[in-house]
Symmetry: C2
Subunit: 319 residues, 2 copies
């Protein structure tokens, strides 16, 4: 079965999900005080962010940085229309997330067998079958399930990841009643061609499944992949404040695509994100100050597009 | 008049013009020895680069870095099918470029009046009229003219640059017999919408004019703008080795889009560039070593897409 694609029309609403407090913070070695995490999330909400992966309910021994997951959720100024999601690795995490009052849980399985084995010591099918109990619990609690996939566009151990394998997992998530699937570009291997192939494979299998694209900018083409997603009609994108987040297989390379840069691209292309560029840049600045490191985001350095300079005070260069 | 657009079809040839030795080197304060410049250009040729802006014939007092323009051209291992272009600001520069044996000269005028006045102390029309003598000389010498425009997508002093002004200059260049026009994103203000508008305005005025797009990645959307260019059927793009080159109005921001990252994007999207990714990355590494600074290119840090890791030797992170 083929599926006709309509590009996301100009002027339409695009959901930008902020994943920095989860995907970014998890890689920071020095503990960020809970109150500061709350300040940063509040700055994101103030800028108009309404979809956020706010934390993970993983083992506090494995990720001490996120040991304060429940306190962060309890502490933020939660807008009535906000969707707070947390990553959970298993049923125990799902129970803790539900008790903390999340709106959604984000499960993760790697599409590639080797990566999943390495990451959670299970086969792909074992991981998926363990999500049955998670989905049942979430259904009873009225909490949405976002079906996450890691290594959706390539695996650092196996190389190419067949789109059919992405579609098979999407179908499993669909049968579990997941609200959406999220395709994670874990090690920055997504390209316009692999993005298109994965989207089309999912649509052929489960046409009504909502797709979220989660790109890393490891090889510089993260926003080019967003352009492909928009052409294919995908309206949900993850991004991380300041481009925070790392790729474990590329020292010095950037991690997730940057929220401000994505908001800038979307806004300048006529899409509605509900996020104020100045406000989200302020949240990025606060994050940068907190971490004491220069983040890869470009809007953070260059400012808004129509920033004006006084010709009397400046020196130019040709080109 | 409207002009139908056909996207550049997958598998088609895309010309990547390397501008690092001109647009990148001109901003480097410490003199790069001529022999090292020649080594870098030779590494680019060895990687398959055939279009290059190899230097500028500007005043050696204004840009001492490029005082060795003629020596560089004389010194490189010039492939028979290479197109060596040099930027020239005026007739004197054009005469020097012709004597040095270039294949093309690249003229520059800013689309915005304020920027042109600030940059070369002339009105736009004054600059254009001075190109008449340049074009006449180049025609006699059998040297191509590339009509360059700075601030084609926005001006740091004036803000928005009307696409009609871009089209007017393209028409002037067309009447001069220029082989192509090049739209320079001097201060990183190009977005998909402004790119599309500029291309369409030129095509409405001079449908048969070859267009080159010269983007900066100052606000992170350089390769997203390339995606728009490809959708609009543009097949010529400038890029700089390692992303070398700066934007005078955004301290710390990156400059030109990066050649290796562009070649990666195009290659992975099924286009033919004739450039070997490993070879051009080696040229970027040599440039980085020469300058003793980390360049913004991402492929330089992350390596090729299908680089494989041994699962026994690595640690992974979720997401």
């Amino acid at each position: 079965m083929t599926h006709a694609t309509t590009p996301a029309p100009e002027g339409s609403a695009i959901t930008v999900c902020e994943v920095g407090p989860r995907d970014g913070f998890q890689n920071i070695k020095t503990f960020i005080p809970t109150a500061r995490k709350i300040d940063i999330v509040n700055a994101m909400f103030a800028a108009g962010v309404r979809h956020i992966q706010i934390t993970s309910f993983v083992s506090p021994r494995a990720v001490p940085q996120l040991a304060d997951a429940a306190e962060v959720i309890a502490g933020v100024d939660r807008p009535a229309d906000a969707m707070l999601a947390a990553l959970i690795p298993n049923l125990k995490g799902a129970e803790r997330a539900a008790a903390a009052g999340v709106d959604a849980v984000h499960t993760v399985v790697s599409v590639s067998e080797t990566h999943n084995l390495k990451n959670v010591n299970r086969s792909v099918d074992q991981s998926l079958s363990e999500f049955d109990a998670v989905a049942a619990l979430m259904h009873r609690e009225g909490i949405a399930v976002e079906g996450g996939m890691a290594t959706a566009f390539g695996c650092p151990f196996e190389g190419i990841v067949p789109p059919e394998n992405v579609a098979r997992i999407a179908k499993y998530y669909h049968e579990l009643g997941a609200a959406s699937v999220s395709l994670g570009d874990t090690t920055g291997m997504a390209t316009p061609a692999t993005v298109k192939a994965a989207i089309q494979a999912i649509r052929a299998e489960v046409p009504d499944m909502e797709i979220t694209l989660h790109f890393h900018n490891t090889r510089g083409v993260g926003l080019a992949c967003v352009m492909t997603g928009l052409s294919e009609g995908v309206t949900h994108y993850d991004a991380s404040i300041g481009g925070l987040g790392g790729c474990p297989f590329a020292a010095g390379a950037t991690g997730n695509i940057c929220t401000e840069d994505l908001v800038y691209l979307l806004q300048e292309s006529g899409y509605e994100t509900g996020i104020d560029l100045e406000g989200i840049t302020a949240a990025a600045r606060l994050t940068q100050e907190t971490l004491g490191q220069t983040l890869p985001g470009q809007i953070l350095k260059a400012g808004p597009r129509l920033r004006r300079y006084d010709p009397q005070l400046t020196v130019t260069a040709e080109g």
